[in-house]
């Protein structure tokens, strides 16, 4: 079977990578199609790729007016219905930038199946044109991607019909959900559960990660793309990160590892003794030697923490995606959350939250239960078989 895989952004592709390996390891041929940043992530995972769409990195699209698909726009806030017409027009403009390229690729390398994240609708349009099945792979905890399907189908209908899909973009024949059922938002239509396997890139591991470590407990501070971008844009750590670091220093017996790409270490300024700066280190590789994780509400970090059975302190940043993730982590009992900006501005409040995270054995037990639940989900090898059945 030949499978084309696409994703809106790198962080949506990351959780699909282990399934992609499972497909290759089952003898199937896969090709990741997308724009620069997605392609780079696929390359780093050893996957074959094809660039589609206009040049320029995917990250740059976020600031290009009119081309932006802001996921958070589609999340209902304060009971307000999202502006679907405006969102739909943006989707249509964005998909139109690369659809011809994508169709041309699909003619040169005809796939039997498309596997897509829930927001890169171009794959569903292409599947509609080719008359092949499409499967959706969710990225993890999420509260809104079921809702958007119908709106996207309507917004993209004309574009899809013009491209040759008589019935518009193809509806997912299967939705794979790596977020375990006990954690996933009830706002989503149930998906087919699949085991979440952490993959967040690879790195050369520092020696201390495999060796013993000093007594006391160790936290991993993971601020994902958000943290790095803010660091680079503002030339210094965001205030809330400073506060987190101060809070760690204030908790007796607690040390932390803060993974930041080496290129930006000069921007960090002085740090207290208990906080070690490491180079870019995938959270999954770091967590095995840490007792808890402090993060901003990134869904990849949250899923990885759950898979490792580690409790979390979520200092949720004010994006609906991060806030929703924080809520779901708290709801499953594995996280303490600090979402209030006033609380986030006070290192003493953050230190209290850290102490609670460390003291509450219930958090670790809940995280351990979810880790077992994840391990008990159908394997990726089974999912790969299911995908092959769809295409047969």
């Amino acid at each position: 079977m030949r499978v084309i895989i696409n994703a809106l952004v790198s962080s949506h592709l990351m959780p699909m990578v282990p399934l992609t390996w499972a497909l290759r390891a089952a003898g199937h041929e896969v090709l990741v199609a997308g724009q620069a940043d997605v392609i780079a992530t696929a390359h780093a995972a050893g996957l074959a790729t094809a660039a589609i769409g206009p040049p320029g990195s995917g990250v740059a699209q976020w600031s290009r007016p009119g081309l932006v698909t802001r996921p958070q726009l589609a999340i209902a806030q304060d009971g307000q219905e999202p502006p679907w017409e405006e969102i739909g027009a943006r989707w249509e403009r964005r998909v139109a930038t690369y659809l011809d390229d994508y169709l041309d690729l699909a003619r040169r390398w005809p796939p039997d199946l498309v596997l897509t994240d829930p927001l890169e609708f171009g794959g569903q349009v292409v599947a509609g044109v080719l008359g092949i099945p499409v499967a959706v792979h969710r990225w993890g905890p999420d509260s809104f991607t079921s809702t958007v399907q119908g709106h996207a189908a309507r917004a993209l209908r004309d574009l899809a019909v013009r491209a040759g899909a008589a019935y518009g973009m193809a509806a997912p024949a299967l939705t794979l959900d790596p977020c375990p059922p006990s954690v996933q938002s009830p706002k989503l239509a149930p998906g087919q559960a699949v085991r979440f396997v952490p993959y967040n890139g690879t790195a050369e591991l520092p020696g201390w990660l495999h060796g013993g470590r000093p007594g006391g407990r160790r936290a991993a501070i993971c601020l994902g793309v958000w943290g790095t971008q803010t660091l680079v844009q503002e030339g210094r750590l965001p205030a809330v990160v400073r506060n987190i670091i101060e809070a760690v220093a204030a908790v007796p017996g607690l040390t932390a590892v803060f993974a930041v790409p080496a290129a930006h270490h000069d921007l960090l300024g002085p740090l207290p003794g208990g906080v070690t700066v490491a180079g870019e280190l995938p959270v999954g590789l770091l967590l095995a030697s840490c007792d808890l994780v402090i993060h901003h509400g990134g869904t990849g970090t949250a899923m990885t923490a759950l898979a490792h059975g580690r409790p979390q302190l979520v200092v949720a940043q004010p994006s609906p995606v991060n806030l929703a993730c924080a809520e779901l982590m708290a709801a499953c009992g594995a996280a303490v959350t600090v979402a209030d900006p006033g609380d986030q501005a006070d290192p003493a409040v953050l230190a209290k939250a850290l102490e609670r995270t460390l003291a509450d054995d219930g958090l670790a037990r809940a995280a351990g239960r979810v880790a077992e639940e994840i391990a008990a989900q159908p394997s990726l090898a089974q999912a790969a078989g299911q995908l092959a059945d769809l295409a047969a």
């Binding site: 990578v17 282990p18 399934l19 390996w21 499972a22 290759r24 390891a25 089952a26 003898g27 041929e29 090709l31 990741v32 390359h43 780093a44 995972a45 050893g46 996957l47 074959a48 790729t49 094809a50 690729l105 040169r108 390398w109 085991r195 396997v197 952490p198 993959y199 690879t202 790195a203 050369e204 591991l205 495999h210 060796g211 470590r213 407990r217 160790r218 999954g284 590789l285 967590l287 095995a288 030697s289 840490c290 007792d291 808890l292 898979a307 490792h308 059975g309 580690r310 409790p311 670790a364 880790a371 077992e372 994840i374 391990a375 394997s379 990726l380 090898a381 790969a384």
Partner: protein
Amino acid sequence: VTGARAAAAPGYPRVLFAVSNWTSHYFPLVPLAWALQARGASVRVLCPAGQAGNVAAAGLVALPRLMARDVLVSSRTGNYQAARAGRWPYPVPPPHPVTGAPLDSLDDFDFETWAASQRAEMYQAALASTDAAVKFSRSWRPDVVVHDPQCLEGPLAARAAGVAAYAHLWGPVGFGDVGAGLVLTQPDFSGAFARHALERPQPDGIIDPCPADVSPVAAGPSAADVVLAERYVPYHGAALRGTGPGDLGSGRWICVVWGHTATATFGRVTLAVPRIAKAADELGLRTLLLAAPDDLAACGALPASVRTVTGVPLRLALPGCVAAVHYGGAGSVMAALSAGVPQLALPCGLDQDVIARRVADAGAGMLIPNHLASTAAIGAALDRLLGNAGHAAAAARQSAQMGARPTPAAVAKVLAAGRLAGTGRVR
């Protein structure tokens, strides 16, 4: 939280891969590593420092703690010694063992002095490398070790952790083929097994990606108790373009694959691409050429029937071609077998002779020793290869045999199950 230093999550094994200093020897292991990672296993790849980038580019976690000799220098040294002993079939001397530059005369290299100067360094490197493997294995405690046959540190790390070692073959060459100048596993220069009071074992298991007709394991008594048959899944490095060479248009195409090993090891005299292209052109065949940049530059002008492609993975270039021509490198041979394309090998030495012979014996290809591969000989061989339907049928049979073997995903399941049932530990 006392469990923080334990394994990643419940029931997931730790699998240590140990690989040698040559991508062709361990790229065939990559899909198995993916399959294990997809099952949730923690995979670490112990490798020589120079391989860290290649390992990471496969999406795997590299531990560049090993030290290994430059494979090209080792191979060229072997050629130089062969030439000294009068066993060198080419009209010009082999390349300089250290630099790879052409030698005018064998006397232009003082082998004895150079070898003596290397001994202490080689010993120190072997000592450091094997000790690093033992140290890491004892601290990380893998549940099972998978290694390429050349990597001595694989079985060593397995013994240090008291777990099974699986040697994963890179192609149709096995432990039974050792001798007559062919060395599979690096010698234990530093006496590592003795120093660490570990018994030097036969492999506990062999993972064999070859179809039965060309398998070195199926051919004779096995060096291991356990042989796991595996389907070969081609991986030749992260591809620049995943869509293949594009529309080939009309005509009958052959795929010529010429990696950099042959020229770098045996000298430019072995670069047969211009002869192959000329022979194919004379037969009315078109040539799809995948070659290393240096070799390509050295080829000079090629017939108009040649199309050169770069950055295309071999597995995607082969379909649509009626034959593959190469020097018998395992990666090319296995990809052609897998694609069901009959092949002509022009082997230069190393393991290429053994591999090419097995493929020819199975009927899936032909071979001409590289030093005899004139344009006329290549043309005649191609004519016979394409004229006899038996070769295409045998090639298709190999492909079908490979397709029927358990996938890397299935082998991963066996390895993981062995561990979970406690059978992975051998003592």
